[in-house]
Symmetry: C2
Subunit: 465 residues, 2 copies
Amino acid sequence: MLALPGSPREAPPFAPATLAQQRERFVQELGELVRFPSISADPKRAPVMQACADWLRRHLQRLGAADARVLHAGGKPAVFGTIRGPRAAPRVLIYGHYDVQPAEPSGAWRSPPFEPSLRQGALFGRGASDDKGQLFAHLKAVELLKQQRSGLPVSVSFFIDGEEEIGSPSLPQLFRQLAPELGHDAAVVSDAPIVAADRPSITHTLRGDLYLELRVRGAGRDVHSGLFGGAVENAVTALSDALSRLHHADGSIAVPDFYADVPEVSARERAYMRRVGPAEHDVQRDAGGARLSGESGYSAYERATIRPSLEISGLQGGYVGTGVKGVIPSTASAKLDIRLVPGQDLDRVAKVVTRHLARLLPPSLRLEVRELMRIRPVALDRGHPTMQAAVRAYTRAFGTPPVFLRTGGSIAAVSALSDGLGVPVVLMGFALPDDAPHAPNEHFRLSMLEKGIQTSAAFLQEMAR
Amino acid sequence: MLALPGSPREAPPFAPATLAQQRERFVQELGELVRFPSISADPKRAPVMQACADWLRRHLQRLGAADARVLHAGGKPAVFGTIRGPRAAPRVLIYGHYDVQPAEPSGAWRSPPFEPSLRQGALFGRGASDDKGQLFAHLKAVELLKQQRSGLPVSVSFFIDGEEEIGSPSLPQLFRQLAPELGHDAAVVSDAPIVAADRPSITHTLRGDLYLELRVRGAGRDVHSGLFGGAVENAVTALSDALSRLHHADGSIAVPDFYADVPEVSARERAYMRRVGPAEHDVQRDAGGARLSGESGYSAYERATIRPSLEISGLQGGYVGTGVKGVIPSTASAKLDIRLVPGQDLDRVAKVVTRHLARLLPPSLRLEVRELMRIRPVALDRGHPTMQAAVRAYTRAFGTPPVFLRTGGSIAAVSALSDGLGVPVVLMGFALPDDAPHAPNEHFRLSMLEKGIQTSAAFLQEMAR
């Protein structure tokens, strides 16, 4: 139940001056965290991942998590620690991740991706928004609550993933290791955008992700394109031909049976989405001015959330170095990023896509498909009391109630927590749509860091009631 | 006129023992030459190019070219030097090149590309066949002729290019620099295959080469494939779609007007090609077992010689590093290697291909086309006395007369010499079709080195008559 306007519960937890006083230190600390090039996709970064995890472990210890530790389960390390609240108080698990996307194309950054730079009220750097900055808001919320006379109202555990950007393959095993310490009353997953700085929102659906790497290999080897040009098979041409047949001209996906288990979203729900969600020009602006395109009959927001997508995230074949090499390539490779909506079955989609590709390619080319990542789609219950506590928290922090949003992104932890562990999950994000996550010049606004601290602290207070 | 069988002119110039005695030294010297990673496409190799050119200059000086020197015209250095024969004797210009193709994919080499390795009677290494080994045969022919009592029967100039693999852009300027020393009676261009070790051949047509680099760039930047997947334009998908429409399903080129100036080759000529040229299984074997494909109605040999081709030699876009990056690429690039037959106009073809690509791509993508190389197609006169001298030379060296072959490859020097300088040109090559030029595990057979020495020396003798 929302309190009446003017009651103490309506105010944000901290006076604005409290946050302003500490702003410089916050920026310095977050800068330290962003400085780690903790790219989980890059096997060469193992020492950096460990160093970044250690930094977070020490940070949790300073917040009072006596048990803070770095966890290993074969992949990149994760960090776990609990800051205890009053005995018998509810227990909240906050999930964030310290791993980041690769910084390519490095040349497109105005300041180097791993040298955090403060400009125009935002901290620029890979991971500043996704997810180091958002995670940091929760850390600081706990720190500031502990500094208050009333103290931390609930017990808070942090689970900080090092593999979110690669699909969190170690998460199930890490959760099994931690089983005796889990069993929280609620989980906060902090890795999501809100509509706009003055329009808070709570994400309630996530698309799943099936990330496939394709390699095709012809019977021969690379050959001279003068001596053999026009006479032998070109693997790049063949792969390019096959990829060009994955979509219909109208932008819909041409793989047979791909849409078989995609549910129709109700007209009422679509009307709500139109009312609260981003308009066409919002999506275009957030995508850096890219041309909108895709399946007809749906808005850009709908195409990115209630419809599945199949994107070529990478394609390579033949000579791509400087200048000229006259060659007919015998191999080529591509990365396909397929996003699935709640209701779609990952195994089935993997099967129909692989089967279709095999049909499109000439039999002389050997096709190898490797699944690099799989994340299940998620739809969370908007009416759950934990969700309603989050609604009140956003309302207090932003001075206006949040709307419910859908996102096209995928977070492995959400399904692992809600479906796997049965914990009510709230997606509590503070990213703005134009933060440029996964893109050059990623950044996080300091105003959103402060709103995030207020929201997180308010949520912990609401959970204690 | 061919001499009667049994006459001295029918014998190869050197006794087999003469060559056998020196084999070890030849391999050691050629190994030194192959060891230079003289990749002209790679701007970082400038010091290596200079070192390799210096090695060749010293080699020419040791052969007696007092004027041997390294030439510069803004690009990679070339080497020039003349070994004088008897006063008033004919003057022969021998063209070869010391630059090589990139060694990628490096992992596919059984021995490192720039560590020459002698196996199964062949020297393995990048450039061993194309063109260092073939050039070396001519150098050794001159050396051995000079060691004979009769001496070198003609004056021989060597022009050794450092830019053949990138289209010899400096050649016109270098030839202008050398103008006072040119005016040769014949030119030998030594960079061509023969049909088989026991079936010598003289190449009389070359395809031209138009090498284009395409870059497409969308209005935005790379964006998150979860948040925007299905909603915005993907530059890789768009480029891949456009490239897939460059060929018809039957393998012919789908660019309008592309074939407008391709001449029909006569039935008689095609019958000759069938009789003397490589059969389907020969082409397939030479291409390392690749599947034969391409325009219907023509044999593989015909498709690679009397028909133009358009190959995607390279394609790249999005994330191609290790593992996962969820991104919708806003840029993509490709390299198109277009081979043209005698009769086709390079400017016209560049225009129709660029226009077609611009039509296939959505207008939201900016297309940039850069021409990285252009070489004109060439058809040489099989009846010319110089060509007939080459016929006699091959007959003496191989014990069987050569056939006339067409090749799909392109050599800028041939048109620069024949059309530009008006010198009768003979293509005198010693490469075998399965030498794997431009491919991993390139090699050159020692038996062909020796046959090449005999042929070159015989040709110089024939030219003196």
